[in-house]
Amino acid sequence: MPSIVFTSALQRHVECPAENVAATTLRAALEAYFARHEKTRAYVLDEQGALRHHVVVFVDGVQVRDRAALDESVGPGAEIYVMQALSGG
């Protein structure tokens, strides 16, 4: 099953342990995770369901480019990393 790991910067705000989820697309993987951890959703996605402007996701080390659809395929052993974009001060 794909695994989802969140940046420690997010764990400061909301509980989001790394977990495995049963899914074949990125969207389905995130939805499966949010079904278990509903509060995490609003930290990662905006109200339109897209990745927040300053959130980035890597799948097996490759940055996700379609930030609204999130419909790319993820393999059974995929590693999904949810991180913050580097900005600010």
Partner: protein, 368 residues
């Protein structure tokens, strides 16, 4: 006088209490996180804080014990945006239906009712103390709303929500850049309410267009609610008819530009501004921090400087960073460079509480 003050900053919410003759920082909440504003609700003693977590979006928190503990609340959010047609700002860029920042938060007339203005342009309403929020679609769907544009942010924002003390169905709002608006039927219908405001910086054909005015902040006299004061991008305006018409107040010293304005709770002719050099520089005139006060409805203004830095001071006071308490004697003011001042005599003399806070977005006394 109010002995409790909440200071919202880029790096947390500071709760100050008056300890005899001095203000003490009693507590810092949300250290490291931006707090765009707070609101103490005198109806039930709740303290609300609006956070902007940067990467992770806007969050709302509530405390029932003055900041000792906090609970998560729903954050205001838009409904699903239709895929077509693509909504655009007047300059053709996309206008995403997204709350970028909470920019106004006020108690409504019914128990548990709250109004929330946002950068993004949405006005939201809660009827359950922030447990849930609903976009005020009557305003959002108004054709003139689509003429709004951003001022200092990519998207327009609602920064002032004024619930009329005589009748809570009358609500006025201020939009940067979208003019002043009012409803008299609890939000069923909305009317532009910026007649008389003007914007010299716009092309002449749009100078007087009510829907593109940039009021930076609008306040309402509690004792004469038809008296409104606006610090506008172009200058200062006053209304004596509940916002139906506005007159320019041209003679503010040392300048008519600024962001913040406050009005005395019982003397409608008394108001305070924090002037600065406009547009091109946005620093205090001659690098001196000055509060301008009128006591005659804007006919004359006195620059107040005692206790404020008068050399090489580059503090700007944002639109929510000046407040006056219910007595009209105690004021607080916070700056972009983290300076916090208070006055106990209507601004005649100021005391520096700190020069070392994070950049200050908003100050608010606990009232009631």
């Amino acid at each position: 006088m109010s002995d409790r003050l909440f200071v919202s900053t880029r790096k947390g919410l500071f709760s100050l209490v008056r300890d005899g003759t001095w203000w003490t920082i009693e507590r810092v909440s949300f250290v490291g996180d931006a707090v765009s504003l707070s609101m103490f609700d005198a109806r039930d003693g709740s303290l609300y804080a609006a956070l902007g977590l940067g990467h992770f979006g806007v969050k709302m928190r509530r405390s029932r014990d003055l900041g000792e503990t906090w609970e998560d609340l729903a954050a205001p959010g838009f409904p699903k945006q239709p895929e077509a047609p693509v909504e655009t700002l007047p300059d053709g860029k996309p206008w995403p239906w997204r709350v970028e920042q909470v920019w106004a938060l006020e108690a409504g007339g019914q128990p548990g009712e709250l109004w929330c203005g946002t950068i993004g342009g949405g006005l939201f309403r809660s009827r359950d103390g922030g447990g849930s929020w609903h976009l005020v679609e009557t305003l959002w769907n108004h054709p003139k709303r689509k003429e709004w544009f951003g001022g200092g942010a990519d998207l327009p924002g609602i920064h002032s929500v004024l619930v009329d003390p005589r009748d809570a169905r009358i609500v006025r709002i201020g939009v940067s850049c979208g003019g002043a608006w009012r409803t008299e039927d609890g939000g069923e219908t909305w009317t532009l309410s910026s007649k008389g405001m003007f914007a010299e910086y716009m092309p002449p054909q749009r100078r007087d267009d009510e829907s593109i005015q940039d009021p930076h902040r609008i306040v309402q006299s509690p004792s004469r609610p038809d008296r409104l004061w606006t610090q506008h991008h172009n200058g200062v305006f006053r209304s004596d008819d509940g916002g139906r018409t506005w007159v320019t107040i041209p003679n503010v010293v040392p300048a008519v530009f600024g962001f913040a304005v406050a009005v005395h709770p019982t003397e409608p002719d008394t108001a305070w501004l924090v002037p600065a050099i406009k547009d091109d520089q946005r620093v205090p005139v001659d690098a001196r921090v000055v509060v301008a006060r009128t006591r005659d409805a804007g006919a004359t203004w006195v620059p107040l400087t005692r206790g404020l830095p008068q050399t090489h001071a580059y503090d700007i006071v944002f639109r929510h960073a000046l407040d006056v308490d219910d007595t009209g004697s105690r004021l607080a003011m916070g700056s972009t460079t983290g300076s916090l001042w208070t006055s106990d005599d209507g601004g005649d003399a100021w005391t520096c509480v700190s020069n070392h806070l994070p950049p200050i977005y908003a100050v608010r006394f606990a009232r009631g």
